[in-house]
Structure formats: C-alpha cells, structure tokens
Symmetry: D3
C-alpha cells in the first residue's frame, strides 16, 4: 500500500489498471468496448485521446479492475479491440463511505448518492439514471430535473 490512507476513507483495497494504446480500431466501436468491459465487471473503463508515433491520433484504453477479474477483462480487451498486447500495474483504491438518500422531484423519486468525510456529507449527487428517467417521463430537459434534484437537497 502506498502512503497512509485518509483517516476517514474506508481501508484501501488493491485493484489493477490495464492499459492498451490502440490506433487502428473503427472509432464507432469504442462505446461498445467500454460497455463490454463494464458488463464484465470492470470497476471503471475509459478512453484517453493520445498522439502516437508517425502523427497518429489514437486512444489509450484504461480499465480499473479487481485482481480476481483481471484475467477475464484482459480477454475482453483482446477480443473487443484490435490490440495485441496490454500493460498492467497495481493500484490502491480508497473510497469514502457512501449512502443513498432519496428526494422527490416532480412527484417522482430520485436517488442521491451521499459521501461523508469525517462524518460530514461532502458530496450529494443526484443519480443520473433517475434524473433521465424522470425527465423522459415528464417531457422535461434532464438539466431541469437535475437542478430541481440539487435544490431538493436543502438540509
């Protein structure tokens, strides 16, 4: 474990980052690659735009994963992209204790993710999926529902 964890965060857990630089995949396939990785159990998966040798615009695919899922997620990377290799390194992951609250917005329930630091709520974020559901049901812009959910968070 690197350094000492924030006193208020949950204990650090070991995870692994997998990375591959990919310069030859049909870009339309990237969203499906990220979905396949999340469905395969990845803690997170994302793309970073990079510039490679020979002036090529490319992407680094990164996957954060629990150690027991690494072998399987490596197979997803190798099957779903054109890369023939990847690199990996160990990280420590820390997370604040989190809870879920609920607020009423336009007569519907929206979950709010709460995180505490030293016992005090430091983050209160309405769940996007709930906001999108309410927005679609009410014919409102998602932004209007998100703003309303944030305003409902008055202590």
């Amino acid at each position: 474990m690197v350094g000492s964890p924030a006193a208020t965060a949950s204990a650090a857990v070991p995870e692994v980052v997998l990375e591959a630089n990919v310069d030859d995949l049909d870009p339309r396939l990237w969203p499906g690659v990220l979905s396949a990785l999340m469905e395969g159990g990845a803690s997170d998966a994302w793309l970073t735009p990079i510039l490679m040798k020979k002036g090529r615009p490319a992407h680094t695919l990164s996957v954060l994963a629990r150690p027991d899922l690494v072998a399987e997620l490596e197979r997803v990377v190798l099957a779903h992209t054109t890369t023939i290799g990847l690199r990996r390194y160990a990280v420590d992951k820390v997370a604040l204790p989190r809870e879920t609250a609920e607020v009423e917005v336009y007569g519907e329930t929206v979950r709010v993710k709460l995180a505490r630091l030293d016992g005090e709520v430091v983050t209160a974020t309405p769940e996007y999926d709930d906001v999108a559901r309410v927005a679609a049901a009410k014919g409102l812009p998602e932004r209007v529902v998100m703003d309303a959910a944030r305003r409902s968070l008055v202590e």
Copy 2:
C-alpha cells in the same frame, strides 16, 4: 506481477513507463521527440494532452520501455525535451502470440499482422507501411488499398 495473465497470452514481461509533464516545449518539436525515443528502443512513446496549473495546456510524454533501456531513454527525454525531471513506474506487459501473413493487393504484397486468442485469429491488421507503399506506387488513396487488403483476408 499483477494478477494472473490471460491463459492464452504470452507470459508477462516487466517493462517500465516513464512520464514527464511538459508545458514549455515548442510544439513543432514533439514529433521528433517521439521518433528519437522509438529509435532509442522504446516499446512505445506517446503524448497525452493535459491541462496544468495556471490554465496551461500541456502534454504528458509517456514512454514504455524494457528495464535495460530505461537509463538510456531517460537521457533521450532529458536531452530532447525541456523537462528537468520525470517519474517512472513498473508495469507488466502481456502480448498475444503474433504471426505475419501476406495478401496480394493490386499486384503487390501487403503484410498482415495476425494475433491469436485461444488458438483462434482475433485480429488481422494490414501493415500500414505496406499499404502506404502500395498506395503511393499505384497512385491510389491509402484508404482504398487498406480496404482492399482487409477484403483479401477472407478465410
């Protein structure tokens, strides 16, 4: 070694990533920096656009290298860029077994890089340099030759 490698990938080998954040290099020099690193034996070298303190657009230079080349490649970074420091960390690198096939396109030979997962070909990528050579020789767009090379891959 982090996690266990995919059963079908070659054994993991240790490599090192070198990184430096650079905010004061004449941007025209970047392609030459990447070339110098590849010529110096880097396994890969690339740039990631970042936003640094004080609102500065900058780049992270990343170099993937075999451990025995690290000292020499550090010197390339320090001589060819304006950075006065860098960071490094160890990674495990895994790669699929690869072969080279050849296809005929417009009467010319184009190599195709094949990679196997569980014995089955999962990636078949025409070599760009060959495609570019044929395109130049025939006066065709590279895309036309690349498409033709992909179509020639019918089993």
Copy 3:
C-alpha cells in the same frame, strides 16, 4: 526503484500519484481544484480529458505528491471535487540538478532555470512569472519579453 537512474540525474526519490475520474463537477471549479492541490504541497496536479462509459466527457484528476503529503492531499481531492474515491500508485521521481541564472531584459531581471546533464546545460528556461511581471510593467506582450529573455541566454 524501477531500473537504474540516469547517471547524471539526482538519485530517485519515491513519490505517489493519486488519480480520480470525475464526470460530475461544474467545470468552472477545476482551476480552483488544481490551485488548492498545489497550495497543499502537491509536486504537480493536472487534468486529462477522457471519455467515460455512457458517452460522458470527463476528466482524470492526477496529483503527484511526496508520500508524507498523500493523506492530506487525498482529503483535498475528496473535499474539493465530487469524487467519492481515488486510486494511487507509487512512482520513482528523478530530476536533473538545477540552478537559477539571471538575465537583464528591458532593464528588469528575469530568472532562468538551468538544468545540467553530464555537467552540460541542456535546458535554459526563462521563468514565466518573471516574464509576465516585466511584460505587465512595460506594456509589452509576454511573448516579446520571453523571446528577449531567450536571446539573452547567449553563452
């Protein structure tokens, strides 16, 4: 320590990289987050634009820090952004020995950061803050002062 350090660089020192992917922060707050981290003692702090699951444009926040500052800087990340978790990994940091020279530009002093490799100066970079000060005082574009400072570096 990974590999052997460049003979001419100072000995490697251990540092830690903290990273968090953030997709829900008001983007106007990012410059203040980087400032808070630098004021908290970070060796460096920067943002990398990424593409996350569900098609979301987001940023990876990265912080380079001495091990003894990790716990405090984690708290800054958790308090100043909306993330509820982060990952960290150890790196070795190497830096060239550096000196500060001074040049006269438009009658004002501008510091120049010098770095040596094998005893020879490989980098001589005028300090931006000094350049900005002189430019403001003289009513000149910063570029004009920076160019003049570079030209003053003739051995």
Copy 4:
C-alpha cells in the same frame, strides 16, 4: 454558395451551424443534450473540448441544421444546456449520392452504406446499428462482426 461543388457530388444545400461555448454544465448531461438535438432533427450534433479563459476546460457544442429547423433547435440548446447565448453561421453542405447494399453475416443481414464518386464506389461502410444487433444476438464482439461485414464486401 462558396466555390463550385465537386462535379460528382449532389448539389450543395444550405445549412446552418449553431455553436455555444459551455463551461458550467454537469458533464453527465452532455450525451442527453446530443440525443435531444438529434431527435429534434439536427443533421449532426457534437462536442469539441476547449480551453477557455481563467484556465477552464469546457466544450463547444456544435449543431448542424437545416434552416427551417434552426429556430426550434436553438430552443433545444437553450433549454437543455446552461448557455444563455449562441452564435450561428451559414454553410453549404454537399453529399455524395448514396445507396444501401446488404450483406449476410453470421446468417443475419447487415446493411452497408455505399457512396459513389464519378460513378465508382469509394466508400462502403457497414451500418453500426446492424453490426451491434448481430453481435448481441450471436454473443460475438462487435469488432468480429464488423470485420466479417467488411470482408463480405468483395466485389
């Protein structure tokens, strides 16, 4: 109309580009904004990452639209984002005549978009949505289906 159109392209038609720089929207809402614009009839809608004053990472939202839809799409931009203004300019749009072909892949039909220049097919692109449907139905990576569809295009 600017310049003369390529002889082989269909006649140019007037469209309008709407643009707004946005630095204060919850980034999770961007995919929904693009969807709302496409559903509203936009010819295209996309985001470009930019760096604004005060060191702020932000996005330019761009919308390509037929002139008769401009007023309505402006309302979508103003309702679905936090911007309070936008700019617009006229463009000429040219497009190659296009046809749809079909190929059989894994026993399923995949449409292929064909475009001709001077009567000759210059682009043959399998439809992503069809590829994704077949991949899901067959439990295959989308890439495998896309490659198979491309190989089926042999004249």
Copy 5:
C-alpha cells in the same frame, strides 16, 4: 442573418470569429494570450487542441468579437502569438434576456445569473467569482459554496 431567431431570444447581432492555427508558441504563454484578448474587449476567446500536418499537436485560437473591435483584436492576436496570419468569418449572435439575482450564502452575497426563455427562468447559475470570494473568505472548498448557492435558489 442566418435563419430566424428563436422568438424568445433577443434579436441577433452580428459578430465576427477570428481564428488562427498556432503550432510554435511556448504553451505557457497561452493563458496570457486569452487574458489579453478578453481585456481587449473580445466577447469570448478560447483554444481548441488540434493535430496538424507532420504530426504536430497544436491549437486553434478562436476569438469572438464585435465588428468594431475586429481590427484591434487582430493586432492583439498578431502581437501576442507567433502566428503571421488569421482567418475570420461573420456570425449572428443571439442571447437570452438575462437578469441578476442575489442569494445569501454563509452570510455573504453571491450573484446568480438568470436567463429566461418564454418568460420562464431556464438557467440560474451562481457567479463563479462570487463563489470563489466567499470560499476564500470562509476557508471552504469552492464546491461547497457553489452547492450551497445552488440550493439557495429554491423558488
């Protein structure tokens, strides 16, 4: 004027966009360039990362300006950057009528920018500069003050 303006927006006014692709400026100077343009009266100024010929990472500098300021702002671009040329095109700019409200946060006043569409408030955004001032005065993260200001907006 392109298309007809949204009925609820103020009348369109003509502005001009100036653009230059720059690949050889010391990147540390970019924030000062944007500041000089804003001080020179630009309606907005921003950077877009691009990839130019020969594999060079570069930036497009964009400036939005009132027609009467174009000649002066062109001089700022030419004096403060290394470009020796630029391009410009006319745009129509539309903006929602806006008002300023005030909320009390931690005993301090924070202005809120309101915009109306069809008479209804669609956007209510706390001013960043006020939030930053209160955060600095109270020793709080800017995010905490921004969230509090948003929550104070309950109708």
Copy 6:
C-alpha cells in the same frame, strides 16, 4: 469581407473552409489524409478531436483552401476518407508581410521566418525543417539546434 483588416496586414483574401465529421476511419490513415490535402494545394489541413452522438470519439477534418482549389480538394476529402459529405463556408484570410532571414547555427544555415507589424518585427521563427536537417547532420537533439537558432536572432 468581415470588418476592416488590420492596417498593417496585407489585404484580406477570400478562402474557404471545408469540414467533415468522421467517425469510422482507421485512425492510422489520418496522417496520410493530411499529407494528401497539403500536396493537393490546401493552405492548411488539420484534425480536431470531437465527441459525437452515441458516445463516439471522432474527428472533424478541416481544410483551408483557395476558392479555385475547392472542387479538387473536396474530391481528395471524399476519396481519402470515409465521409460521404462535407460542409464549407467562406472566410477572409489576412497575413502579415513576411520575409526570410538566415542565421548560422553549428556552421549550417537555418532560415528564419520574419513577420512585421507596423514595420517592426514581431515574429522571428526558425524554420523547423532546417532545424531538423542540422540536428540530424550534427547528431544533436532538435531542441538544441532550435534554441541555438533562436539565440542567433539577437539584433
């Protein structure tokens, strides 16, 4: 012509910008596309990374061209990329009068591009191609030669 040109710049000349959003080209082909456009007479050609609908990372290809070359360059875009359409708009291009000077660096000649504003030199940029040639001939990093060329510019 939009606005009045800077008094010191050469008269504005009309040019055209061609743009296409491309989400399905093998990224390795992009450098060749830019080269083909420059060889076809484009005044400039560049790529901007964008985020399109359905979460797709893509690029806008932009081409700046003289009006008499538009038809031919449109054909290059349509033949060398996968796009089946593009948009174009007129711009005014202004440029400072420029001269070429020469400096001696490591016994070799390096051209320097000079531009004047109000008769005074505001930009003096060593030609990259000359710097690269000297660096290769002398076995020096390009940066060392570029710095030396800049220092030789002392009036």
